[in-house]
Each structure stands twice: as structure tokens, then as C-alpha cells.
């Protein structure tokens, strides 16, 4: 495919890998977190970390939008899905995320009308095609997907659609990063910044990371060369003793973000005082709900939801894994109470989570030299 293949060129990758090798200090161990689930996906898909020297370790961050949804919210969604006359719509990968008693896929098997959609606009169309049913969209995602939910709600309002509702679980990227950085036991040297989120919010909101915490961050695209180059830029900053926000993804990300997208979000959403993150606990002002002007579309106001908080088990140490303090196998429940089939924490929920990956390929990670 033209315009894509050039970002996957093995020769260029080799050249970048050699540059990285020349920048790292022998004997120093580097831990770099890629914040975004999309980056984690690319790293797995292309084997990006195979091109890194032994002493550069990638830590998978909290940026997988489905993994951070707490069980209680999934339970609330399932309760709504079971209501008479409701069509419950959500993205495909949300359907497998477990609540305290099964997933939306299980609810579907039990008779709830749960449908997979590819965009909030698809959900609105379902509502328009089924005027006698109440259609709920389970909105998830960071600032990447929030604008499309906002635009869909604006359209629903403009067209006077009365049977479309949104259960809003949109989250914001800066508060969880700050929460990670605030923990005294953090062991990270730098961050690969989230490219998709930054197309909306820009690179400026990440200035606090070098300014307040003294860590470099490089906003990066999603092709393997983008990621490799961002890692090289972080390591270069560390070698030079610099610490700043750099934008590797300039072909897409404006430093100041997308003003129109931010405006429509500000109109449709407002900050929740606090929101629970699976594995990270409550983080204040870290999520969005519908603003008063859009209260009529708010599924949580229209119907009672159980709203029961399902605590992450005490033994779960996802927070420490995310901070790079412990390895997955050092967690007390890893591989015993917490498995990919029956996950407890966020890191085991998504196949891209650090624990799920280690569960599946742990021994291979050591034995691959044999291959």
C-alpha cells in the first residue's frame, strides 16, 4: 500500500536501530512507557521491541480504552442492555470485557439486544431505524473518540431524535498520567506520547511531564518506524541531558491540537468530579459526562443504573505493573487467580495488556534465542 509501506521499511528500521544502539549508555537500564494502546498494538504487530537493545525496555501504559473501564460500569451497561425495549450498542472489542457477572457478549446470549457498531453515528442510525425502541450507545475512549460521540449527539439534537441515549465513559489522558507520575515508586525514564489523542488535544498538554516531573515525552505516530524514531528521540534527549516535549508525529499532530474538536467536546461534555479506572482506582477529573444541555440524551439520567462499585481485588497489583515497579509474574495473583480467561486486573483484560502478553509468551521471551 502506497503511503503506508514507507513507514514499515525494514532497511530504515535497521538504520534507526543502529542509531539507538549508539545513543544508549552501556550498563544503564532504560524503561520507556508507550502510553497508548494503539502503540502497544503496533509494537506487537511488527515486533518493534526486537529491534531494541537488551537494556531498553518498553512498559505498556494505561491507554487501552476498553481495559480501563471498571467492572461496575460494565455491570451498569449490562443492566441497561437487559431493559425491555432497549437496543444496546457498543464497539466490538468492548463486548468481551468482563463485568462482575459476565460480559456484554454473555448478556447478548441471554437475550439482550446488544449490537456491535463501528461508530457512534452507526448507533444513531440504529435509533432512527427503530423509532419504537430506546437505543443506547456505550461510549468509550480517550479524546480520540470523544469528538465523534459529541458530533453524533449534536446531530441527534439537531434532528430531534428522542430515542437515542449515551452512557458516557469517555476518559481523558492527562489525569492518569499525572497519577502515575505522582507515585513515589515510579521507575520510568520517558514516554512515547499518544498520537491519536494528540491530534485532538495537541502536544501542549504534555508540557507538565518535563516541566513538573523531569521526564521526556515524544508524541508519536502508529507506524513501526514512527515508534522506533520516537524511542530514539527519547534516548537522545536522555543522552543530551535534555528533557522536553517533542512531536515526532508532526505530519498529523498540530502542537495546539484541533480547536474545533475541542470546542464541540466542551459544548457536549463536562468533567466528572472523579471516575474509577480499572487497576488504578479513582482519579479526579479524569472522565467526561454529558453537559446539562445534553442531559436528555444521558442514559444514566434517563434510567436507574445499579451504580454498584465492584472493587478491584486487593491482591491485584496492576498499578505497580503499570508503573514498571514490578514484573507481571511478581504480582500475587498472576497466573493463579488472575488469568486471561478470568482476568482480575486491567493488565490481564486486553490481550495487549502487559500481564496477558507475559502469561501467553513469558517463557518464550527467554527461550527465543533458541528459535
Amino acid at each position: 500500500m502506497r503511503f503506508v509501506d514507507e513507514f514499515r521499511d525494514a532497511e530504515l528500521a535497521g538504520a534507526l536501530a543502529r542509531e539507538i544502539l549508539s545513543v544508549v549508555e552501556p550498563g544503564r537500564h532504560y524503561k520507556v512507557m508507550e502510553v497508548c494502546g494503539g502503540h502497544t498494538h503496533s509494537i506487537y504487530k511488527y515486533g518493534v521491541d526486537d529491534l531494541l537493545p537488551e537494556n531498553v525496555e518498553l512498559v505498556h501504559g494505561p491507554g487501552c480504552p476498553v481495559c480501563v473501564i471498571p467492572m461496575g460500569r460494565v455491570d451498569d451497561g449490562i443492566a441497561l442492555a437487559h431493559r425491555d425495549g432497549v437496543i444496546f450498542t457498543c464497539f466490538g472489542d468492548m463486548m468481551r470485557i468482563p463485568g462482575s457477572d459476565g460480559s456484554l457478549l454473555d448478556a447478548k446470549a441471554q437475550g439482550a439486544d446488544v449490537r456491535m457498531v463501528y461508530s457512534p453515528l452507526d448507533a444513531l442510525r440504529v435509533a432512527q431505524k427503530n423509532p419504537d425502541r430506546d437505543v443506547i450507545f456505550f461510549a468509550i475512549g480517550f479524546e480520540t473518540t470523544a469528538p465523534s460521540t459529541a458530533l453524533t449527539l449534536k446531530r441527534a439534537k439537531a434532528e430531534g431524535v428522542e430515542n437515542f441515549f449515551c452512557m458516557c465513559n469517555h476518559v481523558t489522558i492527562v489525569p492518569p498520567l499525572r497519577a502515575l507520575l505522582d507515585s513515589p515508586d515510579l521507575r520510568l525514564d520517558g514516554f512515547v506520547g499518544p498520537g491519536h489523542v494528540s491530534t485532538v488535544v495537541g502536544a501542549r498538554p504534555f508540557e507538565f511531564i518535563p516541566a513538573d516531573y523531569g521526564k521526556p515525552i515524544v508524541v508519536a505516530g502508529f507506524e513501526p518506524l514512527d515508534i522506533l524514531q520516537a524511542i530514539q528521540m527519547i534516548l537522545r534527549q536522555l543522552a543530551d541531558g535534555r528533557c522536553e516535549v517533542e512531536n515526532q508525529y508532526r505530519r498529523v499532530v498540530p502542537y495546539e491540537g484541533n480547536r474545533r474538536a475541542l470546542e464541540v467536546m466542551a459544548e457536549v461534555f463536562e468533567l466528572r468530579p472523579h471516575f474509577e479506572w480499572r487497576g488504578l482506582g479513582f482519579i479526579s477529573q479524569s472522565a467526561l459526562r454529558l453537559s446539562d444541555a445534553y442531559a436528555d440524551f444521558d442514559a444514566e439520567l434517563r434510567w436507574e443504573v445499579p451504580g454498584v462499585r465492584v472493587a478491584d481485588p486487593k491482591a491485584c497489583q496492576c498499578g505497580e505493573v503499570l508503573k514498571g515497579v514490578i514484573k507481571p509474574w511478581e504480582c500475587k495473583v498472576f497466573g493463579t487467580a488472575c488469568t486471561p480467561e478470568r482476568p482480575i486486573g486491567t493488565c490481564m483484560v486486553s490481550p495487549e495488556g502487559a500481564c496477558a502478553a507475559y502469561y501467553n509468551f513469558g517463557r518464550f521471551a527467554r527461550e527465543r534465542e533458541v528459535v
Binding site: V66, D93, Q110, R366, V371
Partner: protein, 377 residues
Amino acid sequence: MTKTGAATGEERSPSVGRASSGAPNSREERILGIIETARAKRPKFRDERITMSHGAGGKATQSLIEGLFAPAFDVGELADAATVALGGARVALTTDSFVVKPLRFPGGSIGELAVNGTVNDLAVAGARPVALSLSLILEEGLDSELLRGEVEAIANAASAAGVEVVTGDTKVVERGHADGMYICTTGIGLRDERAELSPSALRPGDRMLVSGSIGQHGMAIMLARDEFELEAEIESDTCSLWPAMDALLDAAGPSLRCVRDATRGGVGSVLNELARASQVAMIVREGDVPVDPAVAGAAELLGIDPMYVANEGKLVAFVAPEGAEAALAALRDAGCEQAAEIGEVRTEPPAMVLVETAFGGKRVMDQLVGDPLPRIC
């Protein structure tokens, strides 16, 4: 029993614990041991209800087959077709149901699929297809013209594949059931003497061949459902695999270890299933895997790996090294111009499929957990 449904899912990598340097820690060893013991156990079927995942060809399907069906019927080796000795003849038997939506799609229709799907299960098991039975479940209100068209499609496909439709059954169900029509076909064939094939026969060094570009059928169906608003000229690859199989048996019979048609779950699922059955490792060279540019483009946009997308006219063959060249040439002569050698069998780590990416890295190609659902980011 057809369709062992094993294999694979989202791409993941081995890495995570790159701190693999240094001596293995004893606690880490112990935990890995616990995990390996748990994984080696025959999967149990413990789900309270059937979900769509149980039909997707991945881990849930595997738990259903290996945890419920196989023990109940005392089935040993799971292959595309079973062998039954009848007098002196070795007869291959297989069955398959077809519930595709929409009923007609670019490159084929449910009727054509119902013939080729069953014919191919026989063919890749090394059996010359002979006869089919045909069961139709029809929905009240179905347009007769549509039915007529499908019956014609069945007759044409059977004639092209050289099999006879010899018996059948019809049921009609109330409106709202059966999505127009469901079809079930059962096929018998005669085991070919030129090769002895088994999913557990793979040996390190064996070469991995595919008979053409992958992912066409599944992608054609996904686009035909009109859910994505994507326009692309992708046609299903549905066709009989017997001519290709016949050519393979002729050219490399004794070197053939195992052949599979890569239907539901795609090539990725087949590879995982066989790696498990033979307790070997596999390495796939991603850059050598033939993928039609339109399929690659659509898969890229949807965030789906073509390796997990269904085919209805592509086989994966494992061949001992000495027969690989002849096998590949035979496939190409038999009309599979895009046939390619895409990888080989290794020793370590057992039961794992690794991909050498065109980018220069490696990843593990795991079993599919559910349907290959599009990612949101």
C-alpha cells in the same frame, strides 16, 4: 468431526519481560510452570451459555469441541474428515453447515459454498470427493426464485467438483428463523493411496505452503454486509480444492505431512491448531504471504489481520523439505499461480507460531479468542 477450531487472535509479542537477561528467578520459574500445566490440560467447557465466540473457530470453539464433543463421542485425532473402513474401502466422511449472511455475495453464494466447503474438507484430508447429501432449512416466505438460483448453484458447483448430490432433506421453519436458508451438506470420499496425512505428522524442517492469496472470502463477506461503507472489488475465492490436492499428491505424495483448508479463523488458526497437534514450533515469513492488495487495504482500514480471515478455496500444506519444490511447482501448474512457500516448522518453542514481520521483528501469532473484531484505536 470437522473443524477442530483452534487458533489464534490478536497479535502479541513475546516481549514484555525483556528483563529476561540473567538467571531465571525461581519464583518466575514456578509461576511459568503453573501456567504451562494449566494450558496443557484439555480445555474444559464451562461456559453457562453459548455465545457467538463458540462459533468463531478460536479458543471458545476449541473448548466446546475438545471439552464436550470429543470426549462424549470418544473421538481421538481431530481432522477435517474422519476415515471409516467399509469392507476393503477406506471411506472419508465429513459434514458442514452453512449459515452465511448475505446469501449471495461477490464471487459466490451459499449454495456454491455448501458444496465446496464439504468437498474441500474431504480433499484436504486426502480423499477424492464422491458424493454429497443436502439438507435445506428454509424460512417461511423465502422467494422461490432465490431458492431456484441456489439449487442451480449447488448443481453447478457439484458438477464442477465432480461429485454427485445423492440424497437430501427439506425442512421449513417459521418466518423470523433461519435467515432465509441454512444448508447442511455431508460428503463421502475415497481415501487416496498416494499419501498418509495426519495433523500430528509435522516434523522440524517441514516447509509451509499456501495455495494462493489469503483472506478473500471473509473480507468479501464483511464488505457485502455493508456495515463498513467500504467499496472494494473483493470476490470470494470459493472453489473446489480437489484439483490442487490431486496435483500435490501426484507431485509430492510421500512428502506430504498434512494439508488443511484455511476456512473459519483463517490461516492463523490452522497453523496454531497443527502446531499444537504436532507439538512443534512454526515460523511464518510475513513478507512471503500472498495477500491481494485490495484485501490488504481493507484489512488495514478495519484493523484486522488477513491471517485470521476466512478462505473458501485456499489450502495450507506441510511438506517434507525434499518434496517442497515439486509441491510448489505442482500447485502453480494446477492453476494456483500465487501459491507460495511462507515458512517452516521448527523445534522450539513447541505449540507456538511465530511471525517474522516484514519490518524485521518477531511476534507470536496466537489463537483467536473470539471473532476478529475491529479495534477502536
